[in-house]
Protein backbone atom coordinates (compact mmCIF):
# COMPACT_ATOMS: atom_id res chain seq x y z
CA UNK A 1 0.00 0.00 0.00
CA UNK A 2 2.42 2.62 -1.18
CA UNK A 3 -0.43 5.11 -1.54
CA UNK A 4 -0.30 5.54 2.21
CA UNK A 5 2.74 7.73 1.95
CA UNK A 6 1.70 10.45 -0.44
CA UNK A 7 1.19 13.23 2.11
CA UNK A 8 -1.71 14.01 4.38
CA UNK A 9 -5.23 13.78 3.04
CA UNK A 10 -6.74 15.31 6.11
CA UNK A 11 -5.09 18.05 8.09
CA UNK A 12 -6.87 19.34 11.17
CA UNK A 13 -5.82 22.02 13.57
CA UNK A 14 -8.53 23.29 15.83
CA UNK A 15 -9.53 24.60 19.21
CA UNK A 16 -13.02 24.24 20.50
CA UNK A 17 -14.60 24.45 23.93
CA UNK A 18 -16.91 21.46 24.23
CA UNK A 19 -18.13 22.42 27.70
CA UNK A 20 -16.57 24.31 30.61
CA UNK A 21 -14.65 21.20 31.66
CA UNK A 22 -13.36 20.16 28.26
CA UNK A 23 -11.57 22.08 25.55
CA UNK A 24 -10.42 20.39 22.38
CA UNK A 25 -7.02 21.49 21.19
CA UNK A 26 -6.00 19.18 18.42
CA UNK A 27 -3.55 18.95 15.56
CA UNK A 28 -3.97 15.85 13.46
CA UNK A 29 -2.76 14.70 10.06
CA UNK A 30 -4.07 11.65 8.30
CA UNK A 31 -2.79 10.04 5.13
CA UNK A 32 -4.61 7.59 2.91
CA UNK A 33 -5.05 5.25 5.87
CA UNK A 34 -7.34 4.37 8.75
CA UNK A 35 -6.80 6.63 11.73
CA UNK A 36 -8.32 5.65 15.05
CA UNK A 37 -9.33 8.31 17.54
CA UNK A 38 -9.00 6.43 20.78
CA UNK A 39 -9.84 7.47 24.29
CA UNK A 40 -12.21 7.23 27.19
CA UNK A 41 -15.71 8.64 26.88
CA UNK A 42 -15.80 12.35 27.53
CA UNK A 43 -12.44 13.09 25.98
CA UNK A 44 -13.91 14.80 22.93
CA UNK A 45 -13.51 12.06 20.30
CA UNK A 46 -17.03 12.29 18.93
CA UNK A 47 -17.05 16.07 19.09
CA UNK A 48 -13.84 16.15 17.07
CA UNK A 49 -15.42 13.91 14.46
CA UNK A 50 -18.54 16.09 14.29
CA UNK A 51 -16.41 19.21 13.87
CA UNK A 52 -14.55 17.63 10.97
CA UNK A 53 -17.82 16.50 9.37
CA UNK A 54 -19.25 19.99 9.72
CA UNK A 55 -22.07 18.94 12.06
CA UNK A 56 -20.76 21.50 14.51
CA UNK A 57 -18.65 24.60 13.95
CA UNK A 58 -15.23 24.84 15.60
CA UNK A 59 -14.42 28.00 17.52
CA UNK A 60 -11.17 28.39 15.67
CA UNK A 61 -8.80 26.46 13.48
CA UNK A 62 -8.52 24.95 10.07
CA UNK A 63 -9.67 21.76 8.41
CA UNK A 64 -8.00 20.83 5.16
CA UNK A 65 -9.20 17.87 3.10
CA UNK A 66 -6.94 17.19 0.13
CA UNK A 67 -6.63 20.41 -1.84
CA UNK A 68 -9.77 21.88 -0.33
CA UNK A 69 -10.19 23.92 2.82
CA UNK A 70 -13.37 22.81 4.57
CA UNK A 71 -13.03 25.25 7.40
CA UNK A 72 -10.73 28.12 8.24
CA UNK A 73 -11.72 30.52 10.97
CA UNK A 74 -9.03 33.01 9.92
CA UNK A 75 -10.23 33.13 6.32
CA UNK A 76 -13.89 32.76 7.28
CA UNK A 77 -14.29 29.60 5.26
CA UNK A 78 -16.96 27.15 6.36
CA UNK A 79 -18.08 24.81 3.62
CA UNK A 80 -21.68 23.70 3.76
CA UNK A 81 -22.37 20.11 4.80
CA UNK A 82 -23.65 19.23 1.34
CA UNK A 83 -20.46 20.45 -0.30
CA UNK A 84 -17.97 18.71 1.98
CA UNK A 85 -18.18 15.27 0.38
CA UNK A 86 -17.45 13.64 3.71
CA UNK A 87 -19.18 10.35 4.50
CA UNK A 88 -20.14 9.47 8.02
CA UNK A 89 -21.52 6.48 9.88
CA UNK A 90 -22.75 6.59 13.44
CA UNK A 91 -23.30 4.49 16.53
CA UNK A 92 -26.94 4.23 15.50
CA UNK A 93 -27.64 3.56 11.84
CA UNK A 94 -29.66 6.73 11.08
CA UNK A 95 -31.27 5.11 8.07
CA UNK A 96 -34.25 6.88 6.55
CA UNK A 97 -37.11 4.80 7.96
CA UNK A 98 -39.52 5.74 5.18
CA UNK A 99 -37.28 4.50 2.40
CA UNK A 100 -36.24 1.05 1.29
CA UNK A 101 -32.67 -0.13 1.66
CA UNK A 102 -32.09 0.52 -2.06
CA UNK A 103 -33.50 4.07 -1.79
CA UNK A 104 -31.37 4.71 1.28
CA UNK A 105 -28.24 3.69 -0.60
CA UNK A 106 -29.18 5.80 -3.63
CA UNK A 107 -30.01 8.82 -1.49
CA UNK A 108 -26.65 10.47 -2.07
CA UNK A 109 -26.66 9.72 -5.80
CA UNK A 110 -29.30 12.28 -6.73
CA UNK A 111 -28.35 13.93 -9.98
CA UNK A 112 -26.18 11.01 -11.16
CA UNK A 113 -27.00 9.54 -14.56
CA UNK A 114 -29.30 6.58 -13.94
CA UNK A 115 -26.96 3.91 -15.26
CA UNK A 116 -24.06 5.20 -13.17
CA UNK A 117 -26.20 5.41 -10.06
CA UNK A 118 -27.39 1.85 -10.63
CA UNK A 119 -23.86 0.59 -11.06
CA UNK A 120 -22.54 2.47 -8.06
CA UNK A 121 -25.29 1.35 -5.69
CA UNK A 122 -24.85 -2.25 -6.81
CA UNK A 123 -21.12 -1.91 -6.22
CA UNK A 124 -21.34 -0.53 -2.67
CA UNK A 125 -24.15 -2.95 -1.80
CA UNK A 126 -21.84 -5.80 -2.75
CA UNK A 127 -18.87 -4.41 -0.82
CA UNK A 128 -21.03 -4.01 2.28
CA UNK A 129 -22.82 -7.34 1.84
CA UNK A 130 -26.35 -5.95 1.63
CA UNK A 131 -27.24 -6.80 -1.96
CA UNK A 132 -29.86 -9.31 -0.76
CA UNK A 133 -31.59 -6.66 1.38
CA UNK A 134 -32.27 -4.00 -1.24
CA UNK A 135 -36.08 -4.36 -1.28
CA UNK A 136 -36.41 -4.47 2.49
CA UNK A 137 -37.50 -1.68 4.79
CA UNK A 138 -34.93 -0.61 7.40
CA UNK A 139 -37.36 -1.53 10.17
CA UNK A 140 -37.07 -5.22 9.21
CA UNK A 141 -33.27 -5.37 9.41
CA UNK A 142 -31.04 -6.55 12.24
CA UNK A 143 -28.67 -4.11 13.90
CA UNK A 144 -25.67 -5.41 11.97
CA UNK A 145 -27.52 -5.24 8.66
CA UNK A 146 -28.60 -1.68 9.34
CA UNK A 147 -25.04 -0.61 10.05
CA UNK A 148 -23.86 -2.18 6.81
CA UNK A 149 -26.61 -0.42 4.87
CA UNK A 150 -25.57 2.83 6.55
CA UNK A 151 -22.00 2.16 5.43
CA UNK A 152 -23.12 1.48 1.84
CA UNK A 153 -25.18 4.68 1.84
CA UNK A 154 -22.27 6.76 3.13
CA UNK A 155 -19.88 5.30 0.55
CA UNK A 156 -22.16 5.52 -2.48
CA UNK A 157 -21.44 9.14 -3.49
CA UNK A 158 -17.68 8.48 -3.28
CA UNK A 159 -16.84 10.70 -0.30
CA UNK A 160 -13.24 11.83 0.07
CA UNK A 161 -13.16 10.80 3.73
CA UNK A 162 -15.18 8.37 5.82
CA UNK A 163 -15.84 9.27 9.45
CA UNK A 164 -16.90 6.42 11.72
CA UNK A 165 -18.35 7.25 15.13
CA UNK A 166 -18.26 4.01 17.15
CA UNK A 167 -20.13 2.17 14.42
CA UNK A 168 -19.98 -1.27 16.07
CA UNK A 169 -20.37 -0.40 19.74
CA UNK A 170 -24.10 -1.14 19.72
CA UNK A 171 -23.69 -4.49 17.93
CA UNK A 172 -23.34 -8.01 19.26
CA UNK A 173 -20.01 -9.75 18.90
CA UNK A 174 -20.75 -11.57 15.64
CA UNK A 175 -22.17 -8.49 13.90
CA UNK A 176 -19.27 -6.49 15.23
CA UNK A 177 -16.74 -8.73 13.53
CA UNK A 178 -18.79 -8.79 10.32
CA UNK A 179 -18.92 -5.00 10.27
CA UNK A 180 -15.20 -4.62 10.96
CA UNK A 181 -14.48 -7.07 8.14
CA UNK A 182 -16.61 -4.97 5.78
CA UNK A 183 -14.80 -1.83 6.87
CA UNK A 184 -11.47 -3.46 6.09
CA UNK A 185 -12.85 -4.48 2.68
CA UNK A 186 -13.90 -0.90 2.11
CA UNK A 187 -10.45 0.30 2.95
CA UNK A 188 -8.89 -2.22 0.60
CA UNK A 189 -11.31 -1.81 -2.34
CA UNK A 190 -12.21 1.85 -2.16
CA UNK A 191 -8.92 3.11 -0.76
CA UNK A 192 -10.79 5.77 1.15
CA UNK A 193 -9.12 7.34 4.18
CA UNK A 194 -11.06 6.84 7.39
CA UNK A 195 -11.16 8.34 10.82
CA UNK A 196 -12.60 5.89 13.31
CA UNK A 197 -13.69 6.75 16.84
CA UNK A 198 -13.66 4.04 19.47
CA UNK A 199 -12.75 3.20 23.03
CA UNK A 200 -12.39 -0.50 22.29
CA UNK A 201 -8.87 -1.88 22.15
CA UNK A 202 -9.72 -4.78 19.84
CA UNK A 203 -11.52 -2.52 17.37
CA UNK A 204 -8.66 -0.05 17.36
CA UNK A 205 -6.16 -2.77 16.62
CA UNK A 206 -8.38 -4.56 14.12
CA UNK A 207 -9.13 -1.55 11.97
CA UNK A 208 -6.50 1.11 12.58
CA UNK A 209 -3.19 1.71 10.89
CA UNK A 210 -2.52 4.80 12.97
CA UNK A 211 -3.89 5.59 16.39
CA UNK A 212 -4.41 8.98 17.97
CA UNK A 213 -4.78 8.74 21.71
CA UNK A 214 -7.09 11.47 22.95
CA UNK A 215 -7.09 12.53 26.57
CA UNK A 216 -8.74 15.65 27.96
CA UNK A 217 -9.26 17.11 24.51
CA UNK A 218 -5.66 16.68 23.41
CA UNK A 219 -3.81 14.09 21.40
CA UNK A 220 -1.32 12.61 23.85
CA UNK A 221 -0.06 9.70 21.79
CA UNK A 222 0.19 8.84 18.12
CA UNK A 223 1.55 5.90 16.19
CA UNK A 224 0.82 2.28 15.41
CA UNK A 225 -2.13 1.06 17.51
CA UNK A 226 -0.14 -1.74 19.13
CA UNK A 227 2.68 0.54 20.21
CA UNK A 228 0.55 3.38 21.48
CA UNK A 229 -1.85 1.16 23.39
CA UNK A 230 0.88 -0.93 24.94
CA UNK A 231 2.85 2.14 25.98
CA UNK A 232 -0.17 3.92 27.36
CA UNK A 233 -0.85 1.21 29.94
CA UNK A 234 2.52 1.54 31.60
CA UNK A 235 1.95 3.37 34.89
CA UNK A 236 5.46 4.83 34.68
CA UNK A 237 4.47 6.65 31.52
CA UNK A 238 3.95 10.36 32.03
CA UNK A 239 0.59 10.11 30.36
CA UNK A 240 -2.08 8.86 32.71
CA UNK A 241 -4.53 6.90 30.63
CA UNK A 242 -7.37 5.24 32.43
CA UNK A 243 -9.18 2.89 30.15
CA UNK A 244 -12.81 2.25 30.77
CA UNK A 245 -12.73 -0.72 33.05
CA UNK A 246 -9.05 -0.92 33.91
CA UNK A 247 -7.18 -3.18 31.57
CA UNK A 248 -3.75 -4.56 31.12
CA UNK A 249 -2.78 -4.54 27.49
CA UNK A 250 0.49 -6.12 26.39
CA UNK A 251 1.99 -6.97 23.03
CA UNK A 252 3.46 -10.42 22.61
CA UNK A 253 4.12 -13.33 20.24
CA UNK A 254 2.72 -16.79 19.91
CA UNK A 255 5.45 -19.00 21.43
CA UNK A 256 3.99 -22.50 21.28
CA UNK A 257 0.80 -24.50 21.07
CA UNK A 258 -0.48 -27.32 23.24
CA UNK A 259 -3.49 -28.53 21.30
CA UNK A 260 -4.17 -31.44 23.68
CA UNK A 261 -4.68 -28.90 26.48
CA UNK A 262 -6.48 -26.49 24.18
CA UNK A 263 -3.88 -23.90 25.07
CA UNK A 264 -1.42 -21.53 23.47
CA UNK A 265 1.55 -19.97 25.18
CA UNK A 266 2.36 -16.35 24.46
CA UNK A 267 5.66 -14.69 25.19
CA UNK A 268 4.94 -11.15 26.26
CA UNK A 269 7.44 -8.62 24.93
CA UNK A 270 10.37 -8.47 27.38
CA UNK A 271 8.15 -10.26 29.82
CA UNK A 272 6.89 -13.58 31.15
CA UNK A 273 5.02 -16.27 29.31
CA UNK A 274 1.27 -16.40 29.49
CA UNK A 275 -0.95 -19.39 28.78
CA UNK A 276 -4.13 -18.47 26.96
CA UNK A 277 -6.90 -20.40 25.22
CA UNK A 278 -5.89 -22.09 21.99
CA UNK A 279 -5.17 -19.54 19.30
CA UNK A 280 -5.24 -20.62 15.69
CA UNK A 281 -2.23 -18.60 14.59
CA UNK A 282 1.29 -19.73 13.70
CA UNK A 283 4.13 -19.45 16.17
CA UNK A 284 5.68 -15.99 15.94
CA UNK A 285 2.43 -14.13 15.23
CA UNK A 286 2.36 -10.75 16.94
CA UNK A 287 -0.72 -10.27 19.09
CA UNK A 288 -2.06 -8.01 21.78
CA UNK A 289 -3.37 -9.53 24.96
CA UNK A 290 -5.83 -7.74 27.16
CA UNK A 291 -6.56 -8.71 30.76
CA UNK A 292 -9.05 -6.86 32.89
CA UNK A 293 -7.55 -5.57 36.10
CA UNK A 294 -10.32 -7.20 38.13
CA UNK A 295 -9.80 -10.60 36.48
CA UNK A 296 -6.43 -11.05 38.19
CA UNK A 297 -6.14 -12.63 41.63
CA UNK A 298 -3.27 -12.05 44.02
CA UNK A 299 -1.70 -14.69 46.24
CA UNK A 300 1.14 -14.15 48.66
CA UNK A 301 2.92 -17.28 47.50
CA UNK A 302 2.67 -19.99 44.88
CA UNK A 303 -0.60 -21.88 45.14
CA UNK A 304 -0.95 -25.58 44.47
CA UNK A 305 -3.90 -27.43 43.05
CA UNK A 306 -5.25 -24.39 41.27
CA UNK A 307 -7.34 -24.46 38.11
CA UNK A 308 -5.99 -21.16 36.84
CA UNK A 309 -3.11 -21.85 34.46
CA UNK A 310 -1.00 -18.77 35.03
CA UNK A 311 0.90 -17.98 38.20
CA UNK A 312 3.32 -15.17 37.62
CA UNK A 313 5.59 -14.00 40.43
CA UNK A 314 5.93 -10.27 40.95
CA UNK A 315 6.59 -7.47 43.42
CA UNK A 316 4.07 -4.87 44.50
CA UNK A 317 5.37 -1.50 43.43
CA UNK A 318 2.63 0.68 44.86
CA UNK A 319 -0.97 0.65 45.93
CA UNK A 320 -3.37 3.38 44.88
CA UNK A 321 -6.78 3.80 46.47
CA UNK A 322 -9.59 4.78 44.13
CA UNK A 323 -12.74 5.00 46.22
CA UNK A 324 -13.80 1.55 47.34
CA UNK A 325 -11.44 0.03 44.80
CA UNK A 326 -7.75 -0.31 45.19
CA UNK A 327 -5.29 -0.57 42.35
CA UNK A 328 -2.13 -2.50 42.94
CA UNK A 329 0.71 -1.79 40.55
CA UNK A 330 2.83 -4.90 40.27
CA UNK A 331 6.17 -5.49 38.58
CA UNK A 332 6.93 -8.81 37.02
CA UNK A 333 9.68 -9.72 34.62
CA UNK A 334 9.84 -6.62 32.41
CA UNK A 335 6.17 -5.77 32.67
CA UNK A 336 3.99 -3.63 34.90
CA UNK A 337 0.54 -4.91 35.76
CA UNK A 338 -2.48 -3.27 37.26
CA UNK A 339 -4.64 -5.37 39.53
CA UNK A 340 -7.82 -4.03 40.95
CA UNK A 341 -8.86 -5.20 44.40
CA UNK A 342 -11.34 -4.22 47.08
CA UNK A 343 -9.95 -2.43 50.11
CA UNK A 344 -10.67 -5.21 52.69
CA UNK A 345 -8.67 -7.69 50.62
CA UNK A 346 -5.67 -5.38 50.74
CA UNK A 347 -5.92 -5.17 54.51
CA UNK A 348 -6.46 -8.90 54.95
CA UNK A 349 -3.49 -9.88 52.81
CA UNK A 350 -1.40 -7.07 54.30
CA UNK A 351 -0.42 -5.94 50.85
CA UNK A 352 2.08 -3.14 50.69
CA UNK A 353 4.82 -2.01 48.37
CA UNK A 354 7.83 -4.33 48.23
CA UNK A 355 5.90 -7.51 49.00
CA UNK A 356 6.25 -10.51 46.70
CA UNK A 357 3.00 -11.82 45.28
CA UNK A 358 1.79 -14.20 42.60
CA UNK A 359 -0.55 -13.01 39.92
CA UNK A 360 -3.12 -15.71 39.24
CA UNK A 361 -4.72 -15.46 35.84
CA UNK A 362 -7.12 -17.85 34.19
CA UNK A 363 -6.37 -18.59 30.54
CA UNK A 364 -9.93 -17.59 29.79
CA UNK A 365 -9.43 -14.12 31.26
CA UNK A 366 -6.76 -13.39 28.65
CA UNK A 367 -8.41 -11.73 25.70
CA UNK A 368 -6.12 -12.10 22.71
CA UNK A 369 -6.41 -9.54 19.91
CA UNK A 370 -4.93 -10.49 16.59
CA UNK A 371 -4.22 -7.50 14.37
CA UNK A 372 -5.56 -7.96 10.90
CA UNK A 373 -2.68 -6.09 9.33
CA UNK A 374 0.37 -6.78 11.46
CA UNK A 375 2.62 -4.94 9.02
CA UNK A 376 1.05 -1.52 9.57
Amino acid sequence: MSVENDGPVLDVRLSHRVHPGLALDVALSLGREVGVLFGRSGTGKTTLLRLIAGLARPESGRIQLGPETLFDSARRIDRRLRDRRVGMIFQDDRLFPHRSVAANIRFGLKGWPRAEADARSAEVAAICGVEHLLDRSPATLSGGERQRVGLARALAPRPRLLLCDEPVSALDLASRHAMLRRLRDVRRIEGIPMLYVTHGVDEAVAIGSRLFLLEGGRIVGEGSPLDVLAASRRPDNDVPIAFEGLRNVFPGQVASHAPEQNATTLRLDEGPELIVGHLDRPVGTTVLVEIRADDILLAKGPVEGLSARNQIPGIIERIVARGAEVEAVIQTLGITWIVSLVAPAVAQLVLRPGIAVHLIIKARSCHVIVPDNPTS
Binding site: A53, G54, L55, R80, L81, R82, D83, R84, R85, V86, G87, M88, F90, R94, F96, P97, H98, F107, G108, K110, A139, R153, A154, P157
Partner: protein, 223 residues
Protein backbone atom coordinates in the same frame (compact mmCIF):
# COMPACT_ATOMS: atom_id res chain seq x y z
CA UNK B 1 -84.36 26.53 0.57
CA UNK B 2 -82.68 23.21 -0.06
CA UNK B 3 -80.71 21.54 2.71
CA UNK B 4 -77.96 20.82 0.27
CA UNK B 5 -77.01 24.46 -0.40
CA UNK B 6 -75.84 25.34 3.15
CA UNK B 7 -74.27 21.90 3.52
CA UNK B 8 -72.37 22.20 0.25
CA UNK B 9 -71.30 25.75 1.12
CA UNK B 10 -69.97 24.49 4.46
CA UNK B 11 -67.95 21.76 2.79
CA UNK B 12 -66.52 24.17 0.20
CA UNK B 13 -65.64 26.77 2.82
CA UNK B 14 -64.06 24.13 5.06
CA UNK B 15 -62.03 22.74 2.17
CA UNK B 16 -60.76 26.17 1.16
CA UNK B 17 -60.03 27.10 4.77
CA UNK B 18 -58.03 23.88 5.08
CA UNK B 19 -55.99 24.78 2.00
CA UNK B 20 -55.32 28.28 3.38
CA UNK B 21 -54.36 26.84 6.77
CA UNK B 22 -51.97 24.26 5.32
CA UNK B 23 -50.35 26.82 3.02
CA UNK B 24 -49.69 29.15 5.94
CA UNK B 25 -49.32 26.49 8.61
CA UNK B 26 -46.64 24.21 7.13
CA UNK B 27 -43.95 26.91 6.83
CA UNK B 28 -44.98 28.45 10.17
CA UNK B 29 -44.88 25.11 11.97
CA UNK B 30 -41.52 24.29 10.39
CA UNK B 31 -40.09 27.66 11.46
CA UNK B 32 -41.30 27.17 15.03
CA UNK B 33 -39.96 23.62 15.13
CA UNK B 34 -36.57 24.16 13.49
CA UNK B 35 -35.48 27.76 13.82
CA UNK B 36 -34.70 30.08 16.70
CA UNK B 37 -35.57 33.74 16.37
CA UNK B 38 -36.25 36.62 18.76
CA UNK B 39 -39.83 36.72 19.98
CA UNK B 40 -40.44 33.12 18.99
CA UNK B 41 -42.45 32.21 22.06
CA UNK B 42 -44.53 35.38 21.70
CA UNK B 43 -45.32 34.52 18.08
CA UNK B 44 -46.11 30.93 19.03
CA UNK B 45 -48.44 32.19 21.75
CA UNK B 46 -50.24 34.68 19.51
CA UNK B 47 -50.84 32.02 16.86
CA UNK B 48 -52.61 29.80 19.38
CA UNK B 49 -54.86 32.63 20.65
CA UNK B 50 -57.82 31.74 18.38
CA UNK B 51 -58.31 28.58 20.44
CA UNK B 52 -58.73 30.44 23.72
CA UNK B 53 -60.61 33.55 22.55
CA UNK B 54 -64.40 33.45 22.39
CA UNK B 55 -65.47 33.18 18.71
CA UNK B 56 -67.32 36.52 18.87
CA UNK B 57 -64.24 38.23 20.27
CA UNK B 58 -62.15 36.70 17.50
CA UNK B 59 -64.73 37.78 14.93
CA UNK B 60 -64.79 41.30 16.29
CA UNK B 61 -61.00 41.47 16.22
CA UNK B 62 -60.99 40.26 12.63
CA UNK B 63 -63.48 42.92 11.63
CA UNK B 64 -61.07 45.50 13.02
CA UNK B 65 -58.50 44.23 10.52
CA UNK B 66 -60.40 43.15 7.41
CA UNK B 67 -63.57 45.30 7.74
CA UNK B 68 -64.28 47.60 4.77
CA UNK B 69 -63.03 50.64 6.65
CA UNK B 70 -60.27 48.81 8.48
CA UNK B 71 -56.65 49.00 7.37
CA UNK B 72 -56.23 45.69 5.56
CA UNK B 73 -59.85 45.44 4.39
CA UNK B 74 -59.80 48.93 2.90
CA UNK B 75 -56.50 48.36 1.14
CA UNK B 76 -57.68 45.03 -0.23
CA UNK B 77 -60.90 46.51 -1.57
CA UNK B 78 -59.29 49.55 -3.16
CA UNK B 79 -56.44 47.62 -4.75
CA UNK B 80 -58.12 44.36 -5.81
CA UNK B 81 -61.85 44.99 -5.44
CA UNK B 82 -62.20 42.08 -3.03
CA UNK B 83 -64.48 42.60 -0.06
CA UNK B 84 -64.16 39.91 2.56
CA UNK B 85 -66.97 40.87 4.93
CA UNK B 86 -70.41 39.46 4.17
CA UNK B 87 -68.88 37.35 1.41
CA UNK B 88 -68.07 33.65 1.31
CA UNK B 89 -64.36 34.51 1.16
CA UNK B 90 -64.81 36.19 4.54
CA UNK B 91 -66.25 32.94 5.86
CA UNK B 92 -63.15 31.12 4.59
CA UNK B 93 -60.84 33.59 6.32
CA UNK B 94 -62.90 33.43 9.51
CA UNK B 95 -62.93 29.63 9.58
CA UNK B 96 -59.23 29.49 8.72
CA UNK B 97 -58.18 31.88 11.48
CA UNK B 98 -60.38 30.14 14.05
CA UNK B 99 -59.06 26.69 13.21
CA UNK B 100 -55.41 27.59 12.50
CA UNK B 101 -54.01 26.51 15.91
CA UNK B 102 -55.55 23.07 15.49
CA UNK B 103 -53.22 22.55 12.55
CA UNK B 104 -50.24 24.48 13.88
CA UNK B 105 -49.91 22.53 17.12
CA UNK B 106 -49.82 18.97 15.69
CA UNK B 107 -47.80 20.13 12.68
CA UNK B 108 -45.16 21.72 14.89
CA UNK B 109 -45.10 18.57 16.99
CA UNK B 110 -44.76 16.43 13.89
CA UNK B 111 -41.80 18.45 12.61
CA UNK B 112 -40.18 18.44 16.05
CA UNK B 113 -40.53 14.66 16.16
CA UNK B 114 -38.42 14.28 13.03
CA UNK B 115 -34.88 13.53 14.17
CA UNK B 116 -32.68 16.46 13.06
CA UNK B 117 -29.83 13.96 12.81
CA UNK B 118 -31.60 12.40 9.82
CA UNK B 119 -31.74 15.81 8.16
CA UNK B 120 -28.02 16.22 8.81
CA UNK B 121 -27.38 12.84 7.20
CA UNK B 122 -29.28 14.01 4.12
CA UNK B 123 -27.12 17.15 4.00
CA UNK B 124 -23.95 15.07 4.37
CA UNK B 125 -25.18 13.07 1.40
CA UNK B 126 -25.18 16.24 -0.68
CA UNK B 127 -28.78 17.41 -0.42
CA UNK B 128 -29.80 21.08 -0.26
CA UNK B 129 -32.29 22.48 2.23
CA UNK B 130 -35.38 22.20 0.01
CA UNK B 131 -34.47 18.66 -0.93
CA UNK B 132 -33.92 17.77 2.73
CA UNK B 133 -37.36 19.13 3.55
CA UNK B 134 -39.14 17.39 0.70
CA UNK B 135 -37.40 14.03 0.92
CA UNK B 136 -36.86 13.64 4.67
CA UNK B 137 -38.73 16.10 6.88
CA UNK B 138 -42.06 16.14 5.08
CA UNK B 139 -42.44 12.38 4.55
CA UNK B 140 -41.54 11.70 8.18
CA UNK B 141 -43.95 14.37 9.46
CA UNK B 142 -46.82 13.70 7.11
CA UNK B 143 -48.96 11.69 9.53
CA UNK B 144 -49.02 14.56 12.00
CA UNK B 145 -49.73 17.02 9.20
CA UNK B 146 -52.54 14.85 7.85
CA UNK B 147 -54.07 14.56 11.29
CA UNK B 148 -53.95 18.35 11.65
CA UNK B 149 -55.54 18.77 8.22
CA UNK B 150 -58.46 16.55 9.09
CA UNK B 151 -58.91 18.31 12.42
CA UNK B 152 -59.05 21.79 10.88
CA UNK B 153 -61.36 20.59 8.14
CA UNK B 154 -63.79 19.23 10.72
CA UNK B 155 -63.45 22.34 12.84
CA UNK B 156 -64.02 24.67 9.86
CA UNK B 157 -67.05 22.67 8.88
CA UNK B 158 -68.75 23.58 12.12
CA UNK B 159 -67.57 27.15 12.58
CA UNK B 160 -70.36 29.38 13.86
CA UNK B 161 -69.49 32.45 15.88
CA UNK B 162 -66.55 33.78 13.95
CA UNK B 163 -68.22 33.18 10.59
CA UNK B 164 -71.36 34.93 11.79
CA UNK B 165 -69.37 37.96 12.95
CA UNK B 166 -67.29 38.29 9.80
CA UNK B 167 -69.43 36.95 6.96
CA UNK B 168 -72.92 37.30 8.36
CA UNK B 169 -75.76 34.87 7.81
CA UNK B 170 -76.97 35.48 4.24
CA UNK B 171 -78.90 32.50 2.84
CA UNK B 172 -77.32 31.28 -0.37
CA UNK B 173 -74.25 33.51 0.14
CA UNK B 174 -72.69 32.99 3.55
CA UNK B 175 -75.22 30.83 5.31
CA UNK B 176 -73.30 27.69 6.20
CA UNK B 177 -74.86 24.54 7.64
CA UNK B 178 -74.20 25.60 11.23
CA UNK B 179 -75.92 28.93 10.67
CA UNK B 180 -78.79 27.28 8.80
CA UNK B 181 -79.38 24.87 11.69
CA UNK B 182 -79.51 27.83 14.07
CA UNK B 183 -81.98 29.66 11.81
CA UNK B 184 -84.12 26.60 11.33
CA UNK B 185 -84.61 26.29 15.07
CA UNK B 186 -84.73 29.92 16.17
CA UNK B 187 -86.56 31.54 13.24
CA UNK B 188 -88.39 28.84 11.33
CA UNK B 189 -88.86 26.28 14.05
CA UNK B 190 -88.09 23.74 11.31
CA UNK B 191 -86.58 21.02 13.43
CA UNK B 192 -86.74 18.50 10.58
CA UNK B 193 -84.39 20.65 8.49
CA UNK B 194 -82.13 21.18 11.50
CA UNK B 195 -82.09 17.47 12.05
CA UNK B 196 -81.20 16.64 8.45
CA UNK B 197 -78.38 19.21 8.36
CA UNK B 198 -77.11 18.02 11.74
CA UNK B 199 -76.99 14.49 10.43
CA UNK B 200 -75.11 15.48 7.28
CA UNK B 201 -72.57 17.65 9.07
CA UNK B 202 -72.11 15.10 11.85
CA UNK B 203 -71.51 12.33 9.34
CA UNK B 204 -68.73 14.28 7.65
CA UNK B 205 -67.18 15.42 10.96
CA UNK B 206 -67.29 11.98 12.53
CA UNK B 207 -65.91 10.50 9.34
CA UNK B 208 -63.05 12.99 9.52
CA UNK B 209 -62.40 12.15 13.17
CA UNK B 210 -62.34 8.46 12.30
CA UNK B 211 -59.65 9.20 9.75
CA UNK B 212 -57.67 11.08 12.44
CA UNK B 213 -57.98 8.16 14.82
CA UNK B 214 -56.73 5.82 12.15
CA UNK B 215 -53.83 8.09 11.34
CA UNK B 216 -52.64 9.22 14.75
CA UNK B 217 -51.70 6.10 16.74
CA UNK B 218 -48.94 5.21 14.30
CA UNK B 219 -48.11 8.90 13.94
CA UNK B 220 -44.48 8.47 14.87
CA UNK B 221 -42.22 7.34 12.05
CA UNK B 222 -40.97 3.83 12.61
CA UNK B 223 -37.42 3.84 13.82
Amino acid sequence: MSDLAPFWLSVQIAAMATIVIVAAGVPTAWLLARREFPGKSLVAGLLVLPIVLPPTVLGYAMLQVIGRRALVGHWLESSTGITLVFHWSGAVVAAAVAAFPLFLLPARGAFEAVDPALEDVARLLGRGELSVFLSVTLPLAWRGLAAGMVLVFARSLGDFGTTLMVAGNIPGVTQTASLAIYDAIVLGNDSARAGRLTLMISAVSIGALWVVQRTLPAGRPTR
